[in-house]
Amino acid sequence: MQSSTILSVQNVCKTFPTRGGGVEALRDVSFSVARNELCVLLGPSGCGKSTLLNIVAGLHTPTSGTLSLEGRPIHGPARERGMVFQSYTSFPWLTVLENVEYGMKLNGIPKAERRERALHYIDLVHLTKFRDAYPKTLSGGMKQRVAIARTLANAPEILLMDEPYGALDAETRWHMQEMLLDIMRTTQTTILLVTHDIQEAIFLADRIVFLSAHPGRLKTILELDFKKGKEIRSKEDLVELEGYPECEREIMHLMRNEAKQEEDA
């Protein structure tokens, strides 16, 4: 396990400076992500998940602590850590194809290679029919697929996702989650995904990093052993799996305890 670590987060603290002395968002958080794993950051709303992901992306700097990717320290945003946001970030003035080519263009990939790679990833997210469409004609789920294809085509070493399906309706969300697992199977990808949706976390995760709130601290790391070696392609596969109800119940308890401590405090 240790040798395959790609991302390492050590003793990260973050306090946002404010007029009234500052908001402590994260306290002493440490965890690591292994190569080709899908690691989920789970926790109640406002516990600092987005803050932590933004720090990994390099969009925020930690107040203290160290982060490294493949042993290299993280300073500022870079191509190697691609990010998919909850809000729709397809550039409306570019077609699907141009959107997916965008990152590669920034990085000076030659035109022919750019085109080939873009088409490959557009196919991977099932948008081939819409490659020349503008985002305004796409549904929310399709826009998120464009964002995923664009980020993957840019060949990051880790894909960061902040509640990427939070704005989608339930049925679209299932499809998107199933597609993400499909992509994990067919490509060599490492993903760190933030969510507050328990079922989404269990469905997608190889490992769940659970944060507690105010300030955000590492509560526990859950290995989803009941899924190991099982073929899970759809939500139904998951729900029918032995051990699923217990797992969900346990995480619900964790969430509830957090909420209760919040009320007591």
């Binding site: 970030t89 003035w93 840019n154 960061l160």
Partner: protein, 281 residues
């Protein structure tokens, strides 16, 4: 089906189509109604004008009817070289506005994109915005005389500060996530500015231009009325000397029409250039 679920036969809902009403909050009306209503307001306006002219509430020389004004307009163009005046006025607006845009667009974008640039320019720009441009007319007359330079300067001062502020605000409104998307894909500061900030703000920048072009027309008339030998406003001041109210009104009509035409052209340009926007589906 499992035991836990019971299915009920579907019932069909009754067809209750809402009927068309004239007064309905925010709901669209048929295009034909829109056209009819748009024409009707003008018909009403000309009718009231004509009736007022006939009724004799004012001497006919001070309130000529629409027919007389249209005749005056015709003779202005055919016999008094009014086209030259119109072209000069149009040129003044276009040239001064182009100059203002050449300064305001880059400056506004930089102010909207970078807090440091904003902190430097903002106190200056805000102060100027509160100074009415016409208060500079005496000064401009002394510096530049009554020629074109004075008018171009007034038009420039009249729009530049608002233009900068509007463009800076529109640039600031570019969603942070769009910028961060580019940054996390490896975009440099210059690349983000060029490939995200500018294209994202551009549609609203063109709208700001459309709004300020209308203001520019206002200042044009002020500039030409105070001192000018040529232009629409100058023609109107000449007409005033000879009590040609019909010509003054013809001048007003032309200014209004030109404003409408420019507004329409910029609207059409916007639609053509930004077809990808949601509102042009």
């Amino acid at each position: 089906m499992t035991q836990a679920l019971r299915t009920l036969p579907a019932t069909r809902a009754k067809d209750t189509r809402p009927k068309l009403r004239i007064f309905e909050f925010k709901s669209d009306i048929p295009a034909s109604w829109r056209l009819t209503l748009g024409v009707a307001v003008w018909v009403l306006f000309f009718a009231i004008w004509q009736i007022a002219a006939w009724s004799g509430v004012m001497p006919a020389i001070l309130l000529p009817g629409p027919g007389k004004v249209l005749t005056a307009l015709y003779t202005l163009f055919t016999e008094q070289g009014f086209l030259g005046d119109v072209l000069i006025s149009v040129w003044r607006v276009m040239f001064s506005f182009a100059l203002a845009c050449a300064v305001a667009v880059p400056l506004g974008i930089l102010m909207g994109a970078f807090k440091s640039v904003e902190a430097f320019f903002s106190p200056f720009v805000s102060a100027w915005r509160y100074l009415p441009a016409p208060s500079f007319i005496p000064l401009l007359l002394m510096w530049f005389g009554a020629g074109d330079a004075q008018k171009l300067a007034l038009l420039f001062i009249g729009v530049i500060w608002f233009l900068i502020t509007l463009i800076a605000d529109h640039t600031k409104a570019v969603p942070k996530d769009l910028i961060n998307t580019s940054v996390t894909l490896g975009g440099s500061r210059w690349q983000v500015l060029r490939t995200v900030v500018v294209p994202a703000a551009l549609p609203n920048i063109v709208i700001a231009m459309r709004q300020m072009l209308a203001v520019s027309w206002t200042y044009l008339v002020i500039a030409e009325i105070t001192a000018a030998d040529a232009g629409i406003g100058a023609m109107m001041m000449r007409a005033k000397r000879f009590l040609h109210v019909d010509q003054i009104m013809a001048g007003i009509l032309v200014i209004g029409l030109l404003g409408l035409i420019f507004d329409y052209l910029l609207r059409a340009l916007h639609r053509r250039a930004f077809q990808y926007l949601d509102e042009y589906s």
